[in-house]
């Protein structure tokens, strides 16, 4: 994974401090901003490779910052939110955030998300390649998938769904995004289609929703392919 420069926009100094150490240990450069205004300026001035954005900032709503940034930059944004604020999470994802982490969070989890976001970005230019995750091998060229070496019989749509989740492994993929890509914009609200396909896919993968190995549900938001 390519080390990059990461901008942390959070008003809490202790949080910035505990984020800085492991990020630098991973080889990233860290820029800090304590206010919305400084954060936006820092994105413009420093052109970071990734932004960690706290939704609760003293001078402006994190969402405002996000929309402002999205006006002129496609830098990946990871949002920090509090648990109860589901509406805030969804709004942030709608406004163009790539993923979120609920406070309080473990560093391991955060680093996994960051890795996933950066990998996604690096891979975007290279086109479809075969993905190997755990015991799964997914080949987009042949639309084939094997589990532990044995072939899985997936329908076209099941395969597309699996591919979409696996190619963003570790990252949240929202229901809206999947529905738009696989069913078209007219079906944005038909989450029950998606639920049925996820269930079938899990069945074929031998996955248990109550104790998932591959696909994790983020209730009401979307799905995440478990990366490790």
């Amino acid at each position: 994974m390519t080390p990059t420069r990461i901008l942390i926009i959070d008003d809490e100094a202790p949080i910035r401090r505990f984020l800085r150490v492991p990020l630098e240990a991973e080889g990233h450069g860290v820029i800090e901003a304590a206010t919305a205004r400084d954060g936006i300026l820092a994105v413009a001035r420093e052109a970071p490779g990734l932004v960690i954005l706290d939704l609760g900032l003293p001078d402006a709503d994190g969402l405002t910052v996000l929309r402002e940034i999205r006006g002129w930059s496609q830098v990946p944004v990871l949002v920090l939110s509090v648990r109860a604020d589901e509406a805030g999470k969804v709004a942030a994802l709608d406004a163009g955030a790539q993923d979120y982490v609920v406070k309080p969070f473990g560093m391991k989890e955060l680093l996994a998300r960051i890795r996933s976001l950066l990998r996604d970005r690096a891979g975007a230019a290279q086109g479809p390649v075969v993905i190997t995750l755990a015991d799964l091998r997914i080949d987009p060229a042949n639309h084939s998938c094997t589990q532990g070496g044995l072939p899985l019989h997936l329908t076209r749509r099941e395969f597309d769904l699996l591919w979409m989740l696996a190619s963003h492994a570790g990252r949240l993929v929202t229901q809206g995004l999947i529905l738009k890509a696989l069913w078209g914009p007219a079906h944005l609200d038909d989450s029950q289609y998606l639920r049925v396909y996820i269930r079938q896919l899990r069945q074929k993968l031998g996955d248990d929703a109550a104790n998932p190995r591959y696909i994790m549900t983020e209730p009401g938001i979307g799905y995440r392919f478990i990366a490790e």
């Binding site: 648990r83 589901e86 309080p104 989450s191 929703a209 209730p219």
Partner: protein, 898 residues
């Protein structure tokens, strides 16, 4: 001791004085006749006050075009009069609201006895003055002696002129000061002649009638006496309030008998005057009889009015029920109440036959009076009123009279048929039967008509010579005579019986209605129920429109219920309601205050607490009778009690709530200090070890760091619980219900609880075809996290935690079973109480005692239920009984999601 008791200040007197604190002082300039210079004297006094710097306002002065009065008024600040249009004439009245807004220290308001033009707030000016005084403004006013209520009749008799405008004696008693404005009659006559009192043209007319010298002398004496009475009363009050021992009057009482006759009003006035002079209490007694129900409405209204007058004049009201010997009933009541003197209206002349059958009550009293002093009050001018003391209500229904005729015709037909079988003398029995039948069906009048008609028919048809009114045989003459007497008596008796039954039925009906009503409102659990039951019941039993007003937010009276539903009142009605509320007195239609309002308002008072105002509007075709008023009073009392009962219940539960809140606050504090601090101790300790112990082996460092993280996550869950509790407590929780797959939620909950659940074998056994539930993802996840966390906390390490789900009707039951020590069955319900923890002595583990309470709150907010059971996971250790928490969540169906 007795002596001490005697000179103790009288509580009543002290109360009277206390009631005056905060009120304005009232000074009345009283005179014997117009023109004695009352207004002049008042202005004189006002000028002195004005010169002393008192804020005087000439609120309303009647100059009667007298130039010198006008001049005298010049330098006192005036208040603009309020223009009113009454019957097409432009009049001006006292601007009461303007006066109250201006708030002078002293207001001059002329002519206390004045009657306001219709449409004002009060019917009488003295009521305006009352309000001004209540607002703490001093008032100077003027009054002629002839306007005092109890003297009204006397003055009318002296002068032959009756004034319509009267002021209750109580107003006079209210005055803090009375100044008698007196000039000798000759001087007054001289002033009158000079045109100082009335313009010249009116003066001549006045001189001949009212202002005769004899009249003036008598009036002057009355005025002097009234003023002296008042001064005397003030002295007595002062003595009583200051505990000055004196020659206290004995507790004599005066009893005045009241019925529907016009003489009763005069009796009231006589009794009031006697009572005042004797400083005695007085009682107005009404004896109700069955016949009362049959009285015409005009009589019932008059009786109600007379009783109101008595009450206004300060009498105690009493009612007796007696049927036969009314006089005896009155006398025995009088003996009980220590009455010395009985006043009764002089009976009106009655025909001699009426006097033969029944005795006048007054005559009965005189005959049996013994130790009592009986006063007969003169009846007012009675010419033109032929109504007898006992005149029954004559049936106005022409059908009743037709029935009398029909009955006689039928009886004649029957007699004709029976003539062949029975002797002629027996036929009279058939006619008699007709009389009794008519009497029992139609009352006295038609019965009498039947008797007389029957007499003639019998005479004409059957006695010899037939078909003539002549009677030839002696025996038949006797039969005829006996027939008439007997049928008159039986008819009378039967009619009375009927009246009695009618009255009983009416009373029974009223009692039933009251009973019915008390049952209905006793069953009402909320204020809304009581309000609805009240207005609907009053409206249906009294056949009127009904509203109930109560003070809302900000204290303004607002309609809270109506039958038929009504939510706004006209401004005039609203102010009548406000008056009834403010003063605790009836107001509106038919009362003294705002009588032109459409509604009549009665305050709802329980104890000394005002709860609301009940308003009724009579229907055009159904006027209220006195019995309706009595029923209304009873209903109002019950409504007030019911509302008070609810208020007390609410207050009680509020007190309970406060106590409960206190208990929770204490529990919360102990929870915060203990449970939130425990993880912090670990975190700070472990972090300290990490930072301060150089050369720790990597494994130990890892262990400490892990420790910090787990305790931190635990702390996070506590905080989340506290937040959830707050949101539940504030009702700020609005679940976003969506179709959810339980398996997904179990997955994410387990993910969040990775660390605590590490030591347990968690298995989820869900059927493949488990339907979706309708719930809020975030909330349901929190519920699962709490339940699983609890299971992990209490179940021994290495034991199993099993999740199973099954469809149950319109719900999905999700059971989470552990193999912990279990919960005693009798505590299954209580574990969901806030801060409840199953007592386990020293083994108590960290936990806020909030977890399950929050689960319950959240689950119920989503339309589900949660319960605890004893249960055991399959693979549990043999000694564990286990706990099973069962969550029932509503199934998702496309219809319910809309």
């Amino acid at each position: 001791m007795t002596h001490d008791a005697d000179i103790r200040p009288s509580p009543d007197a002290l109360l009277t004085q206390a009631a005056r604190i905060g009120r304005g002082r009232l000074k009345i300039f009283i005179g014997a006749a117009p023109g004695v210079g009352k207004t002049w004297a008042m202005l004189d006094d006002a000028h002195r006050k004005h010169a002393d710097g008192v804020d005087v306002l000439a609120a309303l002065i009647e100059t009667h075009g007298r130039a010198e009065t006008q001049a005298k008024l010049a330098d006192l600040p005036p208040l603009a009069r309020k223009p009113v249009i009454y019957k097409g004439r432009a009049l001006t009245e006292l601007d009461l609201d303007g006066l109250l807004a201006r708030r002078p220290a002293l207001a001059l308001i002329d002519e206390l006895a004045h009657t306001n033009a219709e449409g004002g707030r009060h019917e009488k000016r003295w009521q305006d003055v009352e309000e001004v005084l209540a607002a703490g403004i001093d008032v100077f006013t003027t009054l002629n002696i002839q306007h005092i209520e109890t003297l009204n009749e006397t003055v009318a008799r002296i002068t032959g002129v009756r004034v319509r405008e009267t002021v209750p004696d109580l107003v006079l008693a209210m005055a803090d000061e009375i100044e008698l404005v007196d000039i000798p009659p000759d001087e007054l006559l001289e002033r009158l002649r000079q045109g100082k009192v009335y313009p010249a043209d009116q003066a001549a007319r006045a001189l001949t009638s009212f202002f005769a010298k004899g009249n003036l002398t008598a009036l002057r004496e009355l005025a002097l006496r009234a003023a002296a009475d008042r001064v005397d009363a003030q002295l007595r009050e002062h003595m009583a309030a200051n505990a000055i021992a004196g020659p206290w009057p004995t507790q004599d009482r005066i009893l005045v008998c009241v019925n529907e006759s016009p003489a009763a009003r005069e009796a009231i006035r006589v009794a009031k005057r006697s009572a005042d002079r004797a400083r005695a209490e007085w009682i107005a007694l009404n004896v109700t009889q069955a016949r009362f129900e049959a009285l015409p409405d005009a009589d019932k209204d008059r009786l109600a009015g007379t009783l109101r007058l008595a009450e206004r004049l300060g009498a105690e009201l009493a009612t007796l029920e007696a049927e036969r010997d009314v006089a005896q009933a009155i006398l025995s009541y009088a003996a009980d109440r220590n009455v010395k003197r009985i006043v009764i209206g002089r009976p009106r002349p009655r025909p001699f036959w009426a006097r033969l059958t029944t005795e006048d009550v007054a005559a009965g009293l005189l005959r049996q009076s013994g130790q009592f002093e009986i006063t007969l009050a003169a009846a007012p001018d009675e010419r033109g009123t032929q109504a007898g003391w006992h005149l029954p209500q004559v049936a106005r229904d022409p059908l009743a009279w037709a029935e009398a005729g029909l009955a006689v015709a039928l009886a004649s037909a029957c007699s004709y048929a029976a003539e062949q079988l029975f002797p002629v003398a027996s036929l009279s029995v058939i006619y008699m039967t007709a009389v009794v039948v008519v009497a029992s069906r139609r009352g006295l009048g038609p019965a009498m008509a039947t008797a007389v008609l029957g007499f003639f028919a019998y005479n004409y048809l059957f006695t010899e010579p037939r078909f003539s009114f002549q009677v030839s045989r002696q025996g038949e003459l006797l039969t005829l005579g006996l027939f008439l007497v007997a049928s008159l008596i039986t008819g009378n008796l039967a009619a009375r019986l009927r009246a009695r039954i009618t009255a009983q039925t009416a009373i029974a009906e009223r009692t039933n209605k009251l009973y019915d009503f008390s049952r209905r409102i006793a069953a009402a659990a909320t204020a809304d129920d009581v309000i609805w039951a009240s207005v609907s019941h009053v409206a249906t039993t009294l056949r009127c429109e009904t509203v109930l007003l109560m003070p809302g937010q900000g204290g303004d009276l607002a309609v809270v219920g109506g039958f038929p539903p009504e939510d706004r009142l006209q401004i005039r009605d609203q102010s009548a309601a406000q008056f009834a509320w403010d003063k605790g007195q009836p107001a509106g239609a038919g009362s003294d205050t705002l009588p032109t309002a459409r509604w009549f308002f009665l305050p709802l008072v329980a104890g000394d607490r005002r709860l609301g105002v009940l308003g009724i509007a009579e229907a055009e075709d159904h006027r209220f009778a006195r019995t309706d008023h009595r029923l209304l009073q009873a209903l109002v009392g019950q409504i007030a009690l019911a509302l008070e009962r609810l208020r007390l219940t609410e207050a009680l539960s509020e007190t309970r709530l406060v106590a409960e809140t206190d208990r929770l606050r204490t529990a919360l504090l102990s929870s915060v200090s203990h449970d939130l601090r425990t993880p912090l101790v670990t975190i700070i300790g472990a972090a300290g070890s990490l930072a301060d112990t150089p050369g720790l082996p990597a494994l130990a460092r890892q262990d400490l760091a892990e420790n910090i993280r787990e305790e931190g996550e635990r702390l996070d869950r506590y905080v989340q619980n506290l937040l959830d509790m707050t949101r539940l407590g504030h009702g700020a929780l609005r679940p976003r219900l969506a179709p959810l797959d339980l398996a997904d939620l179990i997955g994410s909950a387990r993910h969040r609880l990775r660390a605590p659940l590490r030591a347990h074998q968690v298995t989820a056994d869900l059927p493949d075809a488990l339907p979706l539930v309708r719930a809020d993802g975030v909330l349901l996840e929190q519920v699962l996290v709490n339940v699983l966390d609890n299971a992990a906390k209490y179940a021994p390490a290495g034991s199993a935690i099993v999740l199973t789900a099954r469809e149950a009707g319109a719900f999905v039951d999700l059971s989470i079973t552990d193999s912990g020590p279990g919960i005693p069955p009798d505590e299954h319900a209580r574990v969901f109480d806030m801060f409840y923890r199953v007592n386990e002595g020293d083994r108590q583990r960290a936990g806020t005692g909030l977890g399950l309470a929050i689960c319950k709150g959240l689950t119920e907010a989503m339309g589900g239920t949660i319960r605890a059971e004893s249960g055991r996971a399959e693979t549990a250790s043999p000694d564990g009984t286990g706990t099973r928490i069962v969550l029932s969540l509503p199934l998702y169906t496309p219809e319910t999601s809309a």
